[in-house]
C-alpha cells in the first residue's frame, strides 16, 4: 500500500511542494523567534524537512547522490549541530535574543515576502532557456529565498549565536538550491566553504564567548589580543 503510494510521482511532487512551504515557514520562525532553545528546534526541524525533501526527491529521481545528501543532512544538521549549539547554550547561560538591528521581526517578515518574489523574478529571467521542470524551478526559488532569508537573519539579529543560526539557514538554502539545480559542483563547493566558515566561527566563538553582541565580542578579541582591528 505504502510502496504503491510512494511510487506515484504526482503525489510525491505534492508532498515536496508542501515541504517547501514548511521550509519557508521555519525560516520565518527563525526570523522572529526570541527564545534560543526554540530557535534551535526550529533549525533542526528545517534540516529535517530538507532531509525529507531530498529523500522524496530520491524516490522521484532515483539518484543515489540525493540519498547521500539526505543521510548527511540528517546526521550533521538534524542531530549534531543543534546538539552542539545546545551544549554551548547551556554553558553560556543565555536563553533569549531580544535585540534586533534595523528591522523588527514584523518588518523582516514583510521584507522576506519581497525577497521571495525577488528570487522568483530573478530566477525566471535566468532559467528561461533551460527547460527545467516546474518542481526544479520552485526548488531553486525556495532555495534562493531561504538563502536570502538567512542573510536577513544575520542582518537583523544582534547576538552572535543567532547570527550563527542565520548562517546555518543560509547554508540550508544553498543545499536546497544545489539539490534542485542539478549537477552543479560549484554549488557544492560553496556549500563546503560555508560549512568551513561556520566551523571556524563556532570554534572562535566557543573560545571567546557566545553570550555577547558583536561589539562586545570585538572588545573581547582585542583584550585577548587575538584581533586588533579597529572598532567600527
Amino acid at each position: 500500500m505504502i510502496a504503491s503510494l510512494l511510487a506515484d510521482p504526482a503525489l510525491l511532487e505534492d508532498i515536496v511542494r508542501i515541504l517547501f512551504v514548511f521550509v519557508l515557514i521555519t525560516a520565518a520562525f527563525i526570523l522572529s523567534t526570541r527564545n534560543i532553545a526554540s530557535l534551535l528546534t526550529v533549525y533542526a526541524v528545517q534540516s529535517l524537512l530538507l532531509t525529507l525533501i531530498a529523500a522524496s526527491f530520491y524516490l522521484i529521481e532515483g539518484s543515489e547522490k540525493l540519498l547521500a545528501i539526505a543521510a548527511l543532512t540528517l546526521v550533521s544538521k538534524v542531530l549534531l549541530i543543534p546538539l552542539f549549539i545546545n551544549l554551548i547554550g547551556e554553558k553560556i547561560k543565555i536563553s533569549r535574543d531580544l535585540e534586533f538591528n534595523y528591522l523588527e521581526p514584523t518588518a523582516s517578515l514583510l521584507v522576506s515576502i519581497g525577497l521571495i518574489m525577488l528570487a522568483y523574478v530573478f530566477l525566471s529571467g535566468f532559467f528561461d532557456e533551460y527547460v527545467l521542470g516546474k518542481l526544479f524551478f520552485i526548488g531553486a526559488v525556495i532555495g534562493l529565498s531561504l538563502t536570502l532569508m538567512g542573510m536577513l537573519v544575520i542582518f537583523s539579529r544582534r547576538k552572535v549565536i543567532t547570527k550563527v543560526i542565520g548562517y546555518l539557514t543560509m547554508e540550508n538554502g544553498v543545499l536546497l538550491f544545489g539539490i534542485f539545480v542539478a549537477d552543479l559542483p560549484f554549488v557544492i563547493e560553496i556549500l563546503i566553504v560555508i560549512d568551513l566558515m561556520i566551523l571556524v566561527l563556532l570554534t572562535t566563538i566557543l573560545a571567546i564567548g557566545l553570550d555577547s553582541t558583536k561589539k562586545e565580542y570585538h572588545q573581547r578579541l582585542q583584550t585577548l589580543k587575538i584581533w586588533s582591528g579597529r572598532e567600527e
Binding site: I18, F20, V21, I25, S32, S112, I113
Partner: protein
C-alpha cells in the same frame, strides 16, 4: 427562493445555533483538564444562557440606542453569516449568499457594533476595549483578506458554497497549499474569538481585556445574546477551517442520510478542533499587546506565501 434553500436556512442555522454553546464549554473543559481541574459541565454554557435570559437588563443612564440594538444586531448578522458556511449540506443558493467578501463585511459589522457598544456605555473599560479592538483590527483585517483571497485563488471561486463543493468532492486536500491556508485560518479563529495569545476569555483583569472589556456593561438577556453571537462566530470560523482542510462527509446533495452524516461528521471534527484550540490555548502564554502585530504578521506571511506558491506553480 427554492424549497431546498428554505430547508437549508432552517437546518443549517438551527444546527449551528444549537451546537455553538457546546463548543464553548468543550474548550473550557479541555483547558480545565490541561490545568488539572475538573472544569464546568459540557452543557454549562446552555444553563448559563438560560439563566441570563431570565435576568433583568440594566442599562447605564449614559447609554443610547446603540446599547439596546447591538445584541440583536450582532446575533442577526451572525445568523445571516451562518448561511454562508454550509455544514449540513451544500444548497442551491441564490446569488450573493456564500460570497466571501459579503461574509467578511458581515464579520466587520459585528465587530464595529461591538466596539461602538463598548464606547456607548460610557465606562472607562469599554472605551479601552474598543480602542484596543480597533487598533488590532487594523492589523488583522489585511491578514484575513489575504487568507480568504488565497482561498479564493486556490479554489478559483469567491463563493464559499462552490469552494466547499470542490473540496468535499476530493479525498485529499485539493491543492497542497490548502493545508497552508488552514494555518492562517486557525490563527484567524484564535484572534477573532479572542483566545489566549491575543486575549484571555476567562478573565476580567484590566490589563488583558479586549473582548470582555467591551461587553462588561452588558447584562441579562442582552449579555446572553452577545455570548451566543460570539459562540456562533466561533463555530462559523471553525466550520470554514474544517470544510477547507477536512471536508469529508459534507453532503453535496440534499438527502436525509446525507444530512445526518454531515451533522455527525461535523460534530466529531469540530469537537476535535475545539480540543485542539483548548490545548493550543493551554500551551502558550498570553502575549503582550505590542507583540501581537508580530503574531498577526505570521498569519499574513503564511497567506501571502500560499498565493505565491500557487502563482509559481
Amino acid at each position: 427562493m427554492n424549497a431546498s434553500f428554505l430547508l437549508f436556512i432552517l437546518l443549517n442555522t438551527g444546527f449551528i445555533l444549537l451546537v455553538s454553546p457546546f463548543f464553548m464549554s468543550l474548550i473550557k473543559k479541555v483547558k480545565a483538564y490541561a490545568q488539572g481541574r475538573e472544569g464546568p459541565r459540557l452543557l454549562q454554557s446552555y444553563f448559563d444562557l438560560r439563566k441570563l435570559m431570565q435576568k433583568e437588563v440594566v442599562y447605564s443612564p449614559n447609554s443610547s440606542i446603540i446599547m439596546r440594538i447591538t445584541p440583536y444586531l450582532n446575533l442577526g448578522v451572525l445568523l445571516l453569516a451562518t448561511l454562508f458556511v454550509p455544514v449540513v449540506f451544500i444548497p442551491n443558493a441564490p446569488a450573493g449568499i456564500g460570497n466571501i467578501i459579503v461574509f467578511l463585511y458581515l464579520l466587520v459589522i459585528e465587530r464595529f457594533f461591538t466596539a461602538l457598544c463598548g464606547l456607548d456605555s460610557g465606562s472607562a473599560f469599554g472605551g479601552m476595549g474598543s480602542s484596543r479592538l480597533m487598533s488590532l483590527s487594523a492589523v488583522i483585517e489585511p491578514t484575513m483578506i489575504i487568507a480568504f483571497a488565497a482561498l479564493a485563488y486556490v479554489l478559483k471561486t469567491v463563493n464559499f458554497h462552490e469552494m466547499f463543493a470542490i473540496t468535499a468532492g476530493s479525498t485529499i486536500p485539493e491543492s497542497p497549499t490548502l493545508s497552508l491556508i488552514s494555518i492562517s485560518l486557525f490563527i484567524i479563529i484564535i484572534v477573532e474569538t479572542g483566545r489566549i495569545p491575543v486575549d484571555n476569555p476567562a478573565t476580567h483583569l484590566e490589563l488583558t481585556m479586549i473582548n470582555e472589556a467591551m461587553i462588561l456593561e452588558q447584562s441579562g438577556k442582552n449579555l446572553a445574546l452577545i455570548e451566543l453571537a460570539h459562540a456562533i462566530k466561533q463555530t462559523i470560523l471553525m466550520a470554514v477551517l474544517i470544510n477547507t482542510l477536512a471536508p469529508w462527509g459534507l453532503a453535496t446533495e440534499l438527502t436525509f442520510a446525507g444530512i445526518v452524516i454531515s451533522c455527525f461528521y461535523f460534530l466529531v471534527k469540530a469537537s476535535l478542533l475545539a480540543g485542539l484550540i483548548g490545548l493550543f490555548e493551554s500551551s502558550i502564554a498570553k502575549m503582550r499587546l505590542f507583540r501581537l502585530p508580530g503574531f498577526y504578521m505570521m498569519a499574513f506571511f503564511f497567506s501571502a506565501l500560499t498565493i505565491l506558491m500557487e502563482v509559481f506553480t
